[in-house]
């Protein structure tokens, strides 16, 4: 992670969060959660600012941030597509869906499109195996996905800038 790619982060936006937990021990995880609400992810400058404010070493803050899957250290897209690759979904074709997404939007699971429109993430089981394969687009659960349908839905949601016409 280099600082260059995280330029333009406004640390002032963090002040309210830090003030809310000032002097509270053991508040690191809620602070990280709220910071992520503010920035969409946890840029390194934000982790350093949190470390300074809480007195927790930045190496520990970073350890916590990397331990939990809920925290993101890279900028995420304006739209989030979660692709389930649990056993049932895997068997019912998630790998094919992933390939289709890569073909059309140029992103592999874990990546964000260059224009910052779309992030594709893989998760392991959303508890809806009967609907396999399952994708979740911006919180909207979509079952029994097929590649054309998925690409079209994502395209519509993301808008014309998100990828090529099918």
């Amino acid at each position: 992670m280099d600082m260059q790619s995280h330029a333009g982060v406004d640390l002032d936006l963090l002040e309210d969060v830090l003030a809310q937990y000032q002097g509270q021990r053991g508040a690191l995880i809620p602070i990280l959660q709220k910071a992520q609400d503010v920035y969409g992810y946890l840029p390194p400058q934000v982790l350093q600012r949190i470390a300074r404010s809480t007195g927790v070493a930045v190496s520990k803050v970073y350890g916590v941030a990397t331990f939990y899957a809920q925290f993101y250290l890279q900028k995420r897209g304006r739209h989030i597509l979660k692709l389930c690759d649990g056993t049932a979904c895997h068997v019912k074709g998630t790998p094919v869906l992933a390939t289709a997404l890569e073909d059309h939007f140029g992103v592999q699971p874990g990546q964000t499109t260059e224009d910052g429109a779309l992030t594709v993430e893989v998760v392991y089981c959303l508890g809806s195996c009967a609907l396999a394969p399952v994708a979740v687009l911006d919180g909207q659960v979509m079952g029994r996905m097929r590649q054309e349908m998925l690409v079209r839905t994502v395209q519509k949601q993301v808008g014309a800038a998100g990828g090529e016409e099918v």
Partner: protein, 829 residues
Amino acid sequence: MSDLITITIDGKEIPAQRGEMLTKAARRAGIEIPVFCGHPKLDPIGACRMCLVEQETPRGRALITACTTPVSEGMVIHYGSEKAVDARQGTLEMILINHPLDCPICDKGGECPLQDHTLAHGPGKSHFWEEKHHKAKNYPLSDLILLDQERCILCWRCIRYLGEWEDKPQLGLFHRGGETVIDKFPDGELDAYTSGSIIDLCPVGALTNRPARFSYRPWELRKTPSICTHCGQGCNLRIDSRDDIVRRHVARENVAVNDEWICDKGRFADDISVSPARLQQPLARIAGQLQPVSWAEALQRVVSGLKGVAERHGPAAIGAIGSAKASNEANYLLGKFMRGVIGSNNLDHREGAALLADPRGLPSLEAARHADLILLMGCDPSEEMPVLATLLKRAAIRQAAAVVIVHPRRIELARYPGHCFQPAPGEEPALFDALTRATLAGRGEPIPAWLAGAAEDAQITAAANALAAAQRPFILYGSDYAWGFGARAIVASLTNWVTAAGHGDRLGFLHAQANSQGAGDMGMLPDFLPGRRPLADAKARGDLEALWQTELPSQPGLTYGGMLASARGRIKALYLLGANPAGEKPADAAALKALDFLVVQELFLTETAQLADVVLPAASYVEGDGTFTNSERRVQRAPQAVKPVGNAAPDWLILTHLARAYAPERAAAWSTTSVAALFAEITQAAPLYAGMTWENLGAGGRQWPWQALSLQRSVQPYKPAALPADPAYPLRLVVGNQLWDDGVVLAASPALAQQGIKAARLHPTDAAALGLHSGDAITLRSRSGSVRTTVHVDDAIKPGTVFLPYSLAGAPAGALFDEYAPRSAVGVG
């Protein structure tokens, strides 16, 4: 409740100390419970699970980690039970799942706990046949340390060391499960001055010594217990060599001195014996050029050169300068040669007569551990004695010792709670007077008239009260306050404060050089004989005359500065051993050129050696036997670890041959043929060393007692010294030591060339006023001269001052010294 209890391991009753960890009690009974994360110097954590044993509990047997379990009365432990053995075997198999097993190319192979524990406790084979996780290899944590994340077993030792001892938690454990790695925060630093300790602590080959790697297999190393000679702490270390080349330094435990740590300079600056710049041959000036000559010819030239001067101008025209970096034996014999053979007391060293050091150094390094208050005046342990700094940090954190600092820079230890004063050069005595006044007032004692005008403020009162209330203060002053114009007033005023607070007997001096204490103890001073006995003491002279079988001159000689200043006058010949005045002060180079005869005994062809008539190549401290006396008067051995380079010879041997050649009739007094015998002679010459022998110095050295020299102290008025202002030079110079300088030792170590910031430092407000930014080239000027260097902007610098470290390449601080040295007025131009 007795502290001695009984526990049972595998049906055997063993005695144990209440509260100690189970691993420790078991080891004493001969049961070696394997550990990776557990380490006697680190807090227990129980991260690796290698030490699992079964404990009987009311609910049956439970697996516990022995390294985190304190023993208690009646405890019943099963170490060899099937379940315990199985658990440890499972743990080891788990650890080995992703370990690369690249032992044949791993520096740790042969001294690796992971290998040893696998042999003793591991499964013969693994259940796993899948591809191993791949992580970063050869990953530089710094210029000095490489990390192999695949070999790492996540024991946390490195993380804990940096947090618990350095208070620089720069390493962390990131990610999760099989992906977990040790790393720095992205773009983070690993800049603790004892960072290399994590290499010694690593129980596998994950952390390796970058300059040393792949240059040895551990089993073929010759291991010589020795000491470090980079500063006055005298940390114990081990010199590992192969084929007479030093391969690495590792720390050696001596709890009284350095616990089990050495700093990165001590660890990594070990290239002195392989440096191509080392002198390997005697040189003599023939037809204006230094040319190689034989030892016989070199010594003959020294004899005839010195004899010629003695005959023409008398022995008082000859002087010698010894070295606080050279051994006791070297300094002792140089003194014996000058006084006993030449007949001159012109004898001193750079940190000698002009340095207002306590002749006893400091009371005890170990006292730092138990301090309830730390007072540092004009010294910076982080830069001058890094391992002591770790002990002080620990006292500040673990014992809540308040840290009181008086220093022109805001030094690293100022980050701990306490009081930090930054008086400008010249303002120190007024501050100490105020502290003395507040102390006397706080104790209800009368304030003498000369202190009545001293300033009062809340912080001064608080600091004075804190020192007066402390039970076990650790108090040091250092060379920043102990030499140059005004130093006498500073030392007198700070002594007054400490004395008024009732701690006069705890005031110690931090020596910056390895053998500053020893050089003085050996009589490398114009007015003191070996054993710190005054030259004026007729009995002391008589004792020495009997031992040396000669007559000694009784007139005090010239000091270091006096000899150099007289080099154009009454001094006609100088013998310099390990001294490089020309490199430090251009004016001294000019003075040395005016001499009739100059002998330089050195490791390198220094600026001074280049001016010599004869250059004698000396063996470094790793190449010959010797003893050094650290800041707490601990005499320690540095035995020979490797052969001298080329034709270099140990200082003591050179001086012995020289004396015998100069005065064959006195050969009987110069008949010792080993350092052990010579040290025996030293203990006779210096009564402070009585009872010590080369053998009984042992692995940990021996101290001469603090009380052996008693100093009576009381609050006394002193002569003030006002530093004159000079409008042409608006800034005030502050010079000091920094760990990473450009001295000869570091110049010989390519691995260390990039360490540290080598620049003059200015406060941001001064830099802004001058339009300067970090990295800009600047010229510092004083009435004495100028130096060119770069600038580094640093808010730890006192506004109105410029900090210039000693030994910067091309920027000798001495060029700026005048009679106000080293607090000259300077300007930036």
